[in-house]
């Protein structure tokens, strides 16, 4: 699923290298964003859908059509259109959504917390299950449990998440009634609390609306567990490999010789060192849950960024597509940078070289 690249080249250099690295980072981000702007702009022009038609609809009179054509600036040369487009985008103005008639940025601001909440629940479940499973598999390397963890992980990689979601809904919601259905919350609870953070779990808990909180939990349980499974498969695999690496180190052998308790060796000595690269892995799988959310949100009618993006795509609402793609890209880049920085900060071996 994921492609992590722990950048090993830059890490070896000393302080000036650190600055160079930052400069590189900044330029990468700038180039990336520019590239994205260009790509999305071109996409918007290539789409075989008449942009005027998306605005005025099928029944508009010819004069209405012509007026909107001019309003959209479609009569100007391409480079000029791109310049205007980029200029606006840089100031956070992605224009107005055709679907919601609101500024893209406010739409995204409303959709993003829903995705954030879902991905966070996912990553918490994934981490809580993935790390112990990975450790366990490493300790019992080659044994049954190792194989089971491995197969369980490969199954997680292999099942289409939208299908798992549908099957989950069919069984846990429709047949057994264990969890609530699609959506974030039942309608009857929707107005029971005021939205402050946009994260319903937090909002309901802080306002003491426990009935609503339970309802939110029963809604998020299934999609959250699914995303959790997805990230767990990856986290467990990486944990196993990092742990194997650590357990083979000299200091472990030394500790064993010294008679340190085995559980201490595993959970304190080895895991603490494995934790450093694991932070990177967790940050990256967090970013990848954003991707997983696109399909999950469609299945669970989750009003987040993923659903917003697919909805906009299906309605050729290119402003919205650009905005949400750009945001997801930025979060992605941001988490990459963050994990890199965390790595630098946490790893004593790297830190000492700074």
């Amino acid at each position: 699923m994921t492609d992590i690249t722990i950048q090993s080249e830059g890490r070896a250099s000393a302080l000036p290298g650190w600055i160079i690295k930052f400069g590189k980072l900044a330029s990468t981000v700038a180039v990336t964003l520019f590239g994205l702007l260009l790509v999305t702009f071109l996409i918007g022009r290539v789409v075989p859908v008449d942009p005027v038609l998306s605005v005025v609809g099928d029944r508009a009179s010819p004069s209405t059509y012509d007026r909107v054509y001019l309003e959209l600036g479609l009569d100007r040369p391409l480079y000029e259109q791109f310049y205007l487009y980029a200029k606006k985008a840089v100031t956070g103005d992605f224009g107005e959504s055709l679907l919601t008639k609101k500024p893209i940025i406010s739409d995204i601001a409303r959709a993003f917390p829903a995705t954030l909440e879902l991905a966070t629940v996912g990553i918490i479940i994934g981490t809580l299950l993935g790390i112990p499973a990975g450790v366990w598999a490493a300790v019992r390397q080659g044994r049954l449990i190792d194989q089971l963890v491995r197969i369980f992980g490969l199954v997680g990689y292999s099942a289409p998440i939208f299908w798992l979601g549908l099957m989950g809904l069919l069984l846990f919601y429709a047949k057994w009634g264990l969890v609530a259905g699609p959506g974030r919350i039942d309608i009857s609870y929707e107005y029971a609390f005021t939205s402050k953070t946009g994260l319903m779990l937090l909002d309901t808990a802080m306002q003491g609306q426990w009935a609503a909180f339970r309802n939110v939990v029963s809604h998020i349980a299934l999609p959250g567990a699914l995303l959790g499974y997805l990230s767990m498969a990856y986290i467990a695999r990486m944990t196993r490999s990092f742990m194997l690496n650590e357990l083979a180190q000299e200091y472990i052998v030394t500790a064993r010789v010294k008679g340190v308790a085995e559980w201490r060796i595993i959970w304190v000595h080895a895991l603490r060192n494995a934790a450093v690269p694991l932070v990177t892995v967790i940050a990256l799988s967090y970013a990848h849950l954003l991707e997983g959310s696109v399909l999950t949100e469609t299945v669970f009618a989750w009003p987040g960024l993923g659903q917003y993006l697919t909805n906009s795509l299906q309605n050729a609402d290119m402003n919205a597509v650009l905005g949400s793609t750009l945001l997801i890209g930025m979060v992605f880049v941001g988490l990459n940078i963050l994990s890199d920085l965390l790595y630098t900060l946490l790893d004593p071996r790297v830190r000492s070289r700074l």
Partner: protein
């Protein structure tokens, strides 16, 4: 597994392959491959994966013989719609009275086509970009790797979605979009490999003989990077299948009436509660095939990548 028995029977060949002193380069290479195969054969999951993948290929080739009904034309709408699985219809029928088993069988062709074409498009692009960047270094390297980074900076599905939006829905466009989003990791890998061999003696020797850069890259660098890139592509196959199915599910990939598994799930979604088999069967197919590729890739990695084999 009869093929294996034949191998065993042929002791002479086996000895030749396992010879400690290979007499020719060909013998050495064949021997290496054979040893890898022996190691792989011991990996039960890997063998299972290989079996699944081979089965997929066979099903795709013989789809016309295996499928009992036409995958596109349905039966009588009044009497043969949404029938549950039975001996007549192993996986039941869908809302247009089509046999789901036949559609799943024919869908294997679509899946194989996607996987195959993506590999054919993305591998050379990745190889070319990576080896060129690695071989020349300098500003060529910087520019190419920046472009690669831009592509890597985005979640694959989301980038593919954006491209499909531009190109319009359809299986061909889905393949192009997935290929566009697949090559960057290969480029990175190829670049890393190239860096390690760029200054190898035999490359230097060729360069001194006056070979052009293009020739050196194509003739001598690319072949050396090929195997690791191919392994990487195999590892990615399951991901490619899932991305294609995801696009199909969102209505942006293969279009009806094409029997693509993801689109079939999407079509069966509205019958989920009463007619569970319509969405379940193609999902199982995706799952099994993707699991097969994952098992195979995992097995290959164990055998060929000593680092992961601790």
């Amino acid at each position: 597994m009869t093929e294996l028995d034949a191998d065993h029977a042929n002791q002479g060949l086996r000895q030749w392959l396992l010879s400690e002193q290979p007499a020719s380069r060909r013998q050495a290479r064949s021997g290496q491959a054979y040893r890898a195969w022996l190691a792989f054969r011991a990996n039960r999951l890997g063998m299972l994966g290989l079996g699944i993948v081979l089965a997929l290929v066979l099903v795709a080739i013989f789809a016309g013989f295996i499928a009992p009904y036409d995958p596109l034309l349905g039966g009588d709408l009044r009497t043969e719609r949404l029938l549950p699985p039975s001996w007549d219809h192993l996986m039941g029928t869908d809302d247009l009275a089509r046999d789901i088993f036949s559609r799943v069988v024919h869908g294997s062709r679509v899946t194989l086509l996607v996987v195959g074409l993506v590999a054919i498009i993305a591998t050379p692009v990745g190889l070319l970009v990576g080896t060129t960047a690695g071989y020349f270094g300098g500003w060529v390297d910087t520019v190419l790797m920046r472009v690669t980074d831009i592509f890597l900076a985005f979640p694959r599905l989301i980038l593919a979605l954006a491209f499909v939006a531009a190109l319009g829905p359809g299986i061909e466009n889905a393949i192009i979009a997935i290929a566009i989003t697949s090559w960057p990791p290969y480029a990175r890998l190829a670049r890393a490999e190239t860096l390690t061999i760029r200054n190898a003696e035999h490359i230097d020797a060729i360069r001194l003989q006056g070979a052009s850069s293009g020739r050196i890259i194509w003739g001598h660098v690319v072949p050396l990077c090929l195997s690791s890139v191919i392994i990487r592509v195999t590892l990615d196959m399951a991901g490619i299948i899932l991305t294609a199915a995801g696009l199909g599910f969102l209505g942006l990939g293969a279009q009806p009436p094409q029997p693509e598994w993801g689109a079939m799930i999407a079509a069966g979604r509205k019958f989920l509660i009463d007619y569970w088999w319509v969405a379940t069967m193609p999902g199982l197919a995706i799952f099994i095939v993707s699991l097969g590729f994952n098992f195979l890739g995992d097995g290959l990695r164990d055998v060929l990548d000593p680092k992961a084999q601790k």
